[in-house]
């Protein structure tokens, strides 16, 4: 598979309609593994890293899950191509900075991506649309078991899987979900939720993980600890917390509709107006406004069949995707013009928001889909 094919096919999670897709954009589970008797990538010399890569890469490419895969050495990818993969969450920002001695292998559906010589020798990640942490874990766990039989993996009877960073030792697992929480942000409840989640040992981060800003009302929530708890326990604990947040988000949206419908209509109307008529737009502004449009679709102000173009714009207006589509390197100002143009084109046939259709949910069904009756 070539990079152009990665670009043209969106990847399952980007257009998927997984469970709770209104609030949960995607679920990811990654496992960190290392080879015994070899220094971790950050400490290994270039020659050692290359040797480790040569040992691991054929095994990864030989997985049945990786038939018809995209496999590339990091030094053979351009900066732009790496950034496209980061924007799709297929490689980490840290991995994008790597060159000789590192590689990435991913399947055609882009549900499985394996980074070789990131912070650990192996970072295996499964990504699914909606809230599907269990099935994401199942896939990556199976791949792990297959590789384990073919590679000598560093494992300690007491500490479990040994990783470069002690924060990952044990299961080596990080499970995370990307949540879209405009209701909680608009009602100023988000900090309360973040603090509550932090207190029970889970982490909340921005769009691209550690140290990144929350944009577009998107938040990543993940387990913080990896030692002393079983994988399935971590996943069900996380899932429960996420389900609670989903309920809180739906409740917040209902309160907004009932008590602050003017504010809500104003936000949606402004987002529609600016996106439809603006001629220059930063990616941050685009994300924030698209988030409000997505909320508009969720609440029924826009027809359900307009969901996909909005979801697609989230990723297409990211800086690297923009440049890759236009086949040229653009400076920030040029990107802002092009971004606004793409959005205008896409929204040309978009109906005006119909605030009267914003659905109130009947009592007690806060986590179900809003209905679209008139």
């Amino acid at each position: 598979m070539k990079f152009s094919q990665v670009m043209s096919s969106g990847g399952e999670w980007l257009r998927g309609e997984g469970p709770h897709h209104q609030v949960v954009v995607s679920s990811r589970v990654r496992l960190a593994r290392n080879l015994r008797h070899h220094p971790f990538p950050g400490w290994a010399k270039k020659a050692e890293r290359t040797q480790i890569l040569e040992q691991i890469k054929p095994q990864v490419e030989g997985l049945t899950e990786m038939q018809d895969s995209f496999s590339e050495l990091l030094q053979d990818l351009s900066a732009l191509e790496k950034q496209v993969l980061v924007e799709r969450h297929l490689i980490s920002r840290e991995h994008a900075a790597k060159g000789v001695g590192s590689a990435v292998v991913m399947n055609r559906k882009q549900t499985l991506s394996i980074m070789i010589n990131e912070e650990d020798h192996l970072r295996m990640q499964s990504i699914r649309s909606g809230l599907q942490l269990k099935s994401a874990f199942k896939l990556v766990d199976k791949v792990d078991s297959t590789l384990e039989a073919r590679l000598d993996i560093a494992y300690d009877q007491r500490l479990g899987y040994l990783t470069a960073c002690p924060t990952n030792v044990g299961t080596g697992m990080r499970a995370s979900a990307m949540l879209h929480l405009p209701g909680l942000v608009l009602s100023d409840l988000i900090n309360q939720v973040i603090q509550a989640v932090n207190k029970i040992g889970l982490a909340v981060r921005g769009l691209y993980g550690e140290g990144t800003e929350a944009m577009g009302n998107l938040f990543q929530i993940s387990n913080q600890t990896t030692l002393g708890e079983k994988e399935d326990e971590i996943i069900s604990r996380l899932t429960k917390v996420i389900e609670t947040i989903i309920d809180k988000e739906h409740d917040a949206r209902q309160v907004l509709i009932q008590k602050k419908s003017d504010t809500l209509s104003d936000q949606i109307g402004r987002a529609y107006g600016v996106l439809t008529y603006a001629h220059a737009m930063t990616s941050k502004e685009a994300l924030n406004l698209l988030s409000v449009m997505k909320l508009g679709v969720d609440l029924g102000a826009f027809p359900e069949d307009r969901r996909l173009p909005i979801d697609e714009l989230f990723i297409e207006t990211q800086p690297a995707h923009l440049q890759k589509t236009s086949q040229q390197k653009l400076n920030a100002e040029e990107r802002d013009f092009l971004r606004a143009q793409i959005i205008r084109d896409r929204l040309k046939l978009f109906p005006k928001p119909d605030m009267g259709k914003m659905a109130r949910e009947p009592e007690g069904t806060s986590s179900s889909e809003p209905n679209h009756h008139e």
Binding site: H37, W43, R158, V169, Q195, E210, G211, L227, G228, E229
Partner: protein, 163 residues
Amino acid sequence: MLCDVCKCNDASVFLTQIIEGKMQKVNLCDACSKEKGVQDPTGFALADLLLGIGAAEEIEKGASTQKCPVCGFTQADFKKTGRLGCSACYRTFAEGLGTLLKAMHKGVEHVGKLPERAAKQLELSDKMRTLSDNLEKAVAEENYETAAALRDQIKQLELQITS
């Protein structure tokens, strides 16, 4: 001064907290302090949230000259990068890491997935223990015929384990 958590940005938030009579200091950058919820001093406990950074300083005091015999990694390298050199470092720096892991994680022992290879090793070593116990008993009871048979089994098992 760099942030103790991300080790990338300059620290701008300097925290001191006394926990069980011990003073712990942590330096954070703006982003990490926000992420850890440090803006709200009532909302967090240093030891819980900051991944045992105080503990990291403690290990440094005790064994700053220690060096991993397998990969040559030192305690100072760990302080600088927050990462270890190789899987053997977990044994080399076991003492200090113990405190750190305890502060970082839910438990101090892995209870999750057991790789097949390790499971097999575990099974063999369990078997070995049983055989050795039986051998001891047989010798004590002067049951030499059984003891000889057990010794043969142990030899076979040893071969299996090393192969």
